[in-house]
Symmetry: C2
């Protein structure tokens, strides 16, 4: 079968129609962000459209000015476990930080979700950009950039090791003899690393997909390196097809240099399609949304990469302020890029905010056929292996599933049935062999 | 309405028929301990019998000799979230340790479960007895006894504070004006304590039961003190009605001394009823089970309170060995009691193991009427407010729900319908007022 486009649905994400004002949309209950029925309905809507996965983002630091869906939200893994028993085939991907979770806990919780869902769990590994989170976890300061990414990589390796605590045939469960476990097939990890020491074994067996799928989204040098090292799915943003191709090439080159098979990495930019009966109508709606956002809210949101810095204190029409290294321990790459552009183009604060908070013109805008054409073009150019669709408003999402997808399906670009009931199976990723089984296979017992 | 007996169901607990050998029972799939369908069926069975709650125990340290259901099990909260959407009225109580979880994470996860379940979450607060757990969490040594209980109490207080981050009317969600949150009703915690500092606010609103219900099970001085300080449900073991009355009296006296209302504490011993068509038959089955356990497995299990000490190294028929203070950082109270009895009664190791691992003769043994009579007697004597029933084998549990409960229902001792769809509502516990709302009520805004 030829390569097919993969599809993710971002539940209660950002950047969709509404954004700060999503909750005011008549189709969306005001408390949707904490209503498990709302999530279950969206997940079933995505599953009916044969999506590969739903994706739950996260944040743990708020002020009264945070966007509404940040203020009150369910913890991603608790939420996904409820969705696991409300769905049958769709993958369940949640954001969990390695800065404020122990790897043993991460491995347990993700391993449990993987068993409960029958092999549909995925983990979006993040290092936490919001420095304010530290104060919720008994720390005066957030971990520095190097420590955050060091912990992230080490946490993933530890979890992968713990998920192999039991070989697949570790439980003979022989009722006649009373032999439940084969002790030779239970393994300690005995990890001692820079950030963690973890003995194991984990008290959870592997699911039928072997291990949860690792996702990653960072765009900094360190983020790309982490993605290339351990990411099996990469979430990103691609403003143009050229940028998408360059990003995908970079990640896959890095991965190959690390000895990985680049075909075992799925690149999935997050997008919001704008669909209308004519291209002009869709473009107008997209522009209206882009220009219609409230400046005060944009200004507050603009502070996020700088550790939610309060930009209300500066003169909006003076040159962009000198911020020193502000942002270095938050979303560093994004903060540095903003400072660079403001400096190079001699922008005022107001111009800088407008530049960076007015969402980039969306690439997938038009009639269903236009959007389908564009997606196919990007897919065939290698700018993406899949799309991560923001699906806040159900009827907007329905236009995508009911009008765009059938066109792509007819062209063979998207599936017409699930190939598998595991996330790995649908994403076309191999089931990793248990490391201990592999070692045993390589070193046969002498005759 | 007069006081009624509360009912909990311990899913995949210990001490039931089978225990080490539960998995060999023909009614129990070998992988039941990781099969979400098995748990969901048991939860629905308990809900059909109008139980107040299901309870999930936990452990995080295993060796190849650990009991089968310890070797491979789902993380309690991940499991309970899946059960939340598979049930409608029954409470969902999970064990989570305060030794190896941050209170902010605990508050988030429990708060999420409370919203997902519509106000049915409960938290069994434990300090972790198995010292070996430390090595899974980057620690050379387990926390000492004082630190463990200090962390436990402080964690509960922090979580309760975080759960009040939003007052109940904090979200006006006024579509016309665009006002989503009332910033005066979002509150930081700014906790700085001996073990934790936590700023808050938590990004989760309160459920309709206000806060998750706090359960506690420790029997040491420190454990009883913790239970009397914050426990709303107390899990315990009561070998005789007199011991049960004394324990309940002690907890309620301590709670009153701390300024609490003793009627807001529900004491629920864990029990396994043995039911047969005649009393003699039930007693014979219970004795057969009690005496039929494998000595080698008992010897391994006997080591647990001493930090899974290997007693296989001693002469079984020599006097009980001098262990010094072994067990002081594990299950200390239990370890000291064993040493004391062995010394006072001059027991050999074999005799001591037999004394403490042969399960105590079960108090609720006989025909359905005998068991119902006995339960009512204990309940009316004040030895218990409820029972926490181990329900490993479905048909054994069905005899309890279908034959014992109808007798108690006819006598008005147990409910004939759910009074509420929250855990607090069914347990008869009040909904705690938000502390900030209470402060506002006490200090009215000057006119």
């Amino acid at each position: 079968m030829s390569r097919q486009l993969k599809l993710g649905a971002v539940l209660m994400g950002v950047g969709g129609p509404g954004d700060h004002d999503t909750w005011r949309h008549p189709e969306i209950p005001g408390d949707a962000s904490v209503d498990i029925r709302w999530y279950a309905e969206r997940a079933r809507q995505a599953e009916a459209a044969l999506f590969d996965l739903v994706f739950i983002v996260d944040s743990q630091f708020i002020t009264p000015d945070s966007p509404p869906h940040y203020l009150n939200r369910l913890e991603p893994l608790t939420l996904l476990s409820a969705l696991a028993v409300s769905t049958t085939n769709i993958g369940l991907v949640g954001t969990l930080t390695t800065s404020y979770n122990s790897p043993f806990n991460l491995a347990r919780r993700l391993g449990s979700l993987d068993l409960i869902s029958g092999g549909r769990a995925g983990w979006n590994v993040v290092a936490t950009g919001d420095g304010g989170t530290a104060a919720n976890y008994s720390r005066d300061e957030h971990f520095d950039y190097a420590a955050r990414y060091g912990r992230a990589l080490e946490s993933v390796r530890v979890c992968q090791g713990l998920w192999d605590s039991y070989e697949d045939d570790a439980f003979p469960r022989d009722v006649a003899t009373g032999r439940f476990v084969d002790p030779d097939k239970q393994h300690r990890l005995d990890h001692v690393g820079e950030h963690f020491s973890v003995r194991g074994p984990l008290n959870i067996s592997r699911s039928k997909q072997g291990r949860p799928v690792i996702f990653q989204a960072g765009d900094s040098e360190e983020g790309r390196d982490l993605g290339a090292s351990v990411g099996e799915g990469i979430f990103t943003h691609a403003p143009t097809v050229e940028a998408g191709v360059a990003f995908a090439r970079d990640i896959k080159d890095r991965a190959r240099a690390k000895g990985r098979n680049e075909n075992e990495i799925v690149i999935m930019p997050g997008v919001t399609p704008w669909i209308a009966d004519t291209d002009a109508e869709a473009r107008a709606a997209e522009e209206h949304f882009r220009n219609g956002r409230d400046f005060a809210k944009n200004l507050a949101q603009f502070g996020r990469p700088f550790g939610w810095h309060d930009f209300g204190r500066y003169d909006l029409d003076a040159p962009f302020p000198d911020l020193g290294d502000l942002g270095k321990d938050s979303f560093r790459t994004q903060a540095e890029r903003i400072k660079q552009v403001a400096r190079d183009e001699r922008l005022t604060l107001r111009q800088t905010v407008q530049r960076f908070t007015a969402a980039t013109p969306a690439p997938f805008v038009g009639t269903p056929r236009t959007v389908a054409d564009r997606i196919q073009e990007w897919f065939e150019a290698g700018a993406l292996d899949g799309l991560n669709i923001h699906i806040t408003v159900p009827s907007v999402f329905a236009r995508f599933t009911d009008e765009v997808l059938p066109i792509l399906r007819e062209r063979g670009v998207v599936r017409d049935r699930y190939e598998a009931d595991t996330l790995r199976g649908n994403l076309g990723l191999p089931i990793p062999e248990n490391v201990h089984t592999a070692a045993r296979r390589r070193t046969p017992v002498p005759a």
